[in-house]
Every structure is written in C-alpha cells, then in structure tokens.
Subunit: 308 residues, 2 copies
C-alpha cells in the first residue's frame, strides 16, 4: 500500500466503514479520523473506527498522505476549504460522495494546490451515523473513480489499489457519466421511494397503521431506502439536479403509459412490460449485486438456503 497515513473527515456509515476496513485489510496503515459532532467522535473512539480520532480536522490531516472526505455532498466544500494550508501538498484528496460533477468542482475550488481524485463506492445500507459502519461494506461492490482530465496517474493507480484492498471492484468514468448512471440506479429510486412512503402516510381513507400492517405486500421494500440519511439525500438531489430531473421525466412518461394501459384495460401492454423486467433481476443476481434468496432470506422459510 502506497498510503501509510489515512485521514477520514466524517465518521458516519461511509467514513466509519473505511476506517474499520482499512484497519482490517491494510495492516501497517494508520487511520486518523475527525467528525464535527463531538458525540460522533466519542462513539467513533468507543467503536474503534480509527486508530485515533482527532479533536480538529487540521490535526487529523496534518501528516496524512490520503485524505477522504466522507461528509454530505453539500458540506464538502465548506469542510475542505479551511484545510487548504493544513493538508500536506503531496497528499491525495478524495471523497465518497454520491454525485461527482458538483463535488469535483467544489473540491477543486476549495483545494486548488492539491491533487483531487473523487471517488464513489456504490455501497451502503439504510443506516447512518457512527454505529452504522462495518469493515466488509465494500466487498464485492463497485467503486467508481472519476479522475479529472490530466490527473496524476501515479496517485490514481494508488487510489485504485486502495479501494481494491478494501474489497471493491474499481471502475473509472467521467464525473458527468457517473452522475447520469447514478441518477438512474440510485438517485431516482431513492426519490421514488421517499415519495411513495410519504404518499402512503398521508391518506385519509387508509390509516397509517394499515399501511404498516400490510406492508409485506411490497411497500416495505421501498421503506428501506426511504429510511436513508435525509441530509445526505437532500444534498444528492440538489447537487445532481439536472440528471435526476432528466431521469424523472423519462420515468414519468413510462408511468403514464402504464397508467393508460390500466385505464383502458390493455392487458397485453402490461404483460409485455412485466415480462421484460424479470430479466434485469436475473442479471443483477448473476453479477453478484444482490441476494438470490427469495425475499432476500427474510423470515425463516426453509427454502431460503436452497434456492440460490
């Protein structure tokens, strides 16, 4: 490992998982962390998310050769700017944010003297905060790195090696393409899940307790991602506005077409559409990006172990 002193700014799900993973998979590397919230720092020390949790960001980055910002997208610029003089000049700066064009611009503006190579591990759970992280979060998941044009190739290959050491598969693409891909695979699904959970809790003719009771009919699948960190998701939508609105427009067109098929009783259109979507599920399981057990192995059914 080319890095020997890693600093993590922000000790939530992502930062905490990087800290635990680095300690587990990168022996010899020292991990220092910082979080603005004193309670999070205290909990991070208790859980041992890093070797040391500093009392200031300046102290955390002072001798680092890799700094990773793990704060919400909207807070990165503000977190980075005051560290311009504190981060060593030869140190690589990266992040884990879910949108990349805006974050890349914010980091480049905040740290004009440093090499910045943004990254986004496509891995997470619905939990957030210093209790949420675990060392294997990135194993078998993809980490997308979006190097600026004419970046430092040595540092880029070191960052690739770092994520691979944490168990991730690494892919490189432009920030613009990343934002389009994630708009459809992550941002739009979250927006829709947040919407439907809100819709369901606002009805007059169906009570909230009925919604909860009968959620096993499909609704509960949406509530998991609608329980994700609100601050982070607010920032994701605001920082990837253009791509999200584009994808939302296409989704709305498709929904309107199915709505019309229901209204006019066009069973063939519905059937054809519902058949096509099955193949995607199969591919996701074949690619190891989801659990093949029916219902993800929820509940205690005997079939769970035998259907994979």
């Amino acid at each position: 490992m080319s890095f020997s002193r890693i600093a993590i700014i922000g000790l939530g799900l992502q930062g905490g998982s990087i800290g635990l993973a680095a300690q587990q998979y990168l022996p010899g590397v020292t991990v220092t962390g910082f979080d603005l919230d004193p309670a999070t720092r205290a909990r991070a020390r208790e859980r041992g998310l890093c070797h040391a949790v500093a009392e200031s960001a300046e102290e955390a980055v002072a001798t680092a050769d890799l700094v990773i910002f793990c704060v919400p997208p909207g807070a990165i610029g503000k977190a980075a700017a005051p560290l311009r003089g504190a981060i060593p000049l030869e140190c690589l700066v990266s992040d884990v944010g879910s949108s990349k064009k805006r974050i890349s611009a914010d980091l480049a503006e905040a740290l004009p003297d440093h090499v910045v190579i943004p990254a986004h591990p496509v891995a997470g759970t619905e939990n957030s905060g210093p209790d949420a992280g675990f060392a294997s979060l990135f194993r078998g998941r993809w980490c997308i790195i979006t190097p600026p044009e004419a970046t430092d190739m040595v540092k880029l290959s070191q960052l690739v090696a770092f994520w691979e050491a944490l168990g991730a598969n690494v892919e490189l693409m432009s920030a613009a393409h990343h934002d389009l891909v994630l708009a459809v695979t992550s941002h739009l699904p979250h927006l829709i899940a947040y919407t439907i959970v809100g819709t369901a809790s606002d009805l007059e003719d169906v009570t909230q307790s009925e919604v909860i009771k009968y959620s096993a009919g499909g609704f509960r699948d949406f509530t998991r991602i609608a329980a994700s960190d609100p601050t982070m998701w607010r920032d994701v939508f605001l920082s990837n506005k253009e791509a999200v609105l584009t994808m939302l427009q296409r989704f709305t067109e498709d929904l309107t077409a199915l709505q019309r098929a229901i209204r006019v009783g066009d069973g063939d259109t519905l059937f054809e559409h519902f058949t096509r979507t099955r193949a995607i599920r199969r591919s996701i399981i074949e690619e190891g990006q989801d659990d093949a057990r029916p219902d993800f192995g929820r509940g205690d059914h005997e079939a769970a172990g035998t259907k994979a």
Copy 2:
C-alpha cells in the same frame, strides 16, 4: 380443524405453500391439488405439495369441504364456473387473490349455490410456479378475509381458524376497503417498481450493463418485486383498476411536488419530507413485518447479527 379434505386449484407460490403448510401444521387433513399445466402437476407431485394431485379439477374438488382457488385473479371466474356441479354444496369456497371486489363478484357469479368467503394472505416472494412454495410463507403475516354481508358465520370462523393454523394473523374487512389498502401497500409499489425497471433498461446514454453493475445504489430493491409473476400482476391491475388509479394520482401529485423542490433548490422541503418517512420504516420493523438487519442481512457483514 373443521376441514378434513382441502382442495387447492392452482399450484404456484400460494397454492404450493398452502399445500405444504396444511400438511405440516394440520395433521389429519387431506390435501388434494390440481393445476391446468401438466408440467406443474408433475412437479407438484415430485415436491409433494399435496397428498394427491388430481388429473382434473372436478376430481380434485369431488369430496372437498374447503376449496381454495389459487389462480391469477383474471382466471378465477373461468376456473370456478365449470365446477358448480362438482363442488359439494356444503363445501366452503375461498381464494387467495390480491384484489377482492372483482374476485368476490366473479366467484359469486360462477358458484351461486355455494358459500364463498374470499381471502387474501398478504405474503409472497418474487418467485412463482410450483418450485416457489414453502410451508412457512404465511407465518407472522396477515391474512385478510373479506366476508360478504350476511355470510355463514360458522364457516367464516372455520376459515379464520384455518389461516391461524397456518401461522397467519387474520383480519376482517370489506372487499372495497381491502382493495384500497392493498392498492397503496402492494399494487402501487409493484406498478412503480415495474415502471422504473423498464425505464432503466431503455436508456440510450446509460447501458443496461451499467444499470446492473451499479444496482446496489438502490435500484436492486425495486427489481425484486418487479420480478414477480407477470400474469398475476396484469390481472391485479386490471381487477383493481379504480383504486390503483386513485393511488397513482396521489403519488404523481407528491412526486411533482418533490420534483419542483429539486428544480428550485428547496432543500428544506426535501429534508422535511425525507425525515418524515424514516418513522414508517421503524414502525414496520417493530410490527414484525420486515427484517431489521441493515440491508436485510444481504452480504456477509459482521454488523448484521447485532443491529436487530
């Protein structure tokens, strides 16, 4: 158990699970099954879904005291009508369909001489066919029974006891209210999941392989329910058209409001909305209708066992 000879018409996920559950939890009860598809009948025999699989529906129901139709909603009327003379007059007729107003009407029309009490176990997985069933599918899940007005109260209480013996919690409500509740907790989520999976597979600027690769960002949660049986879901939407379109209208209004908040950069509205939806998730877990492990325990992370 008041029933001693149960006939199951349709041996997919629901029918197969009832057969297995009845054999496991109701010793002394004989289960006979039938399916229109010869391959399904053969597989049902191999898996032992029933004590006996008949070669005709007439033969399956000939001596039954409970007949349960487990075929897609649109096929129930056609499956039931020819059995008017074959089902013993004192036999109770029920079903497991996901919409109830239309199915109740179809069954009442097809079997005017029999006591019909429709039911809907709110339990399922994304798998279908004779390999999908398992005995514990209904354990801890709700089964909604929608008795017609002035029904046979003795037979109703027997049906309640039957579902409780299979491990379900039973709730009674009108068919109309059922259809509204399920429109929001099950039908709308499925429609939206089918839509977004279709949208994602039709883009020009993002390839299908990218969608699959980066699905762990949220998209994969939708693909599970979008892999459900297309025939059944076509029939559900067509047979519960009115309630589905009503719920869809409210969803669209809410989505438009969030879309506007993104467009104008109104972070407060987004944050407020995303915070509200977290509470629903917590309630679903407290009520035992979902798995509290982060990510449903997908993957191999150590935290899985400790966060429930």
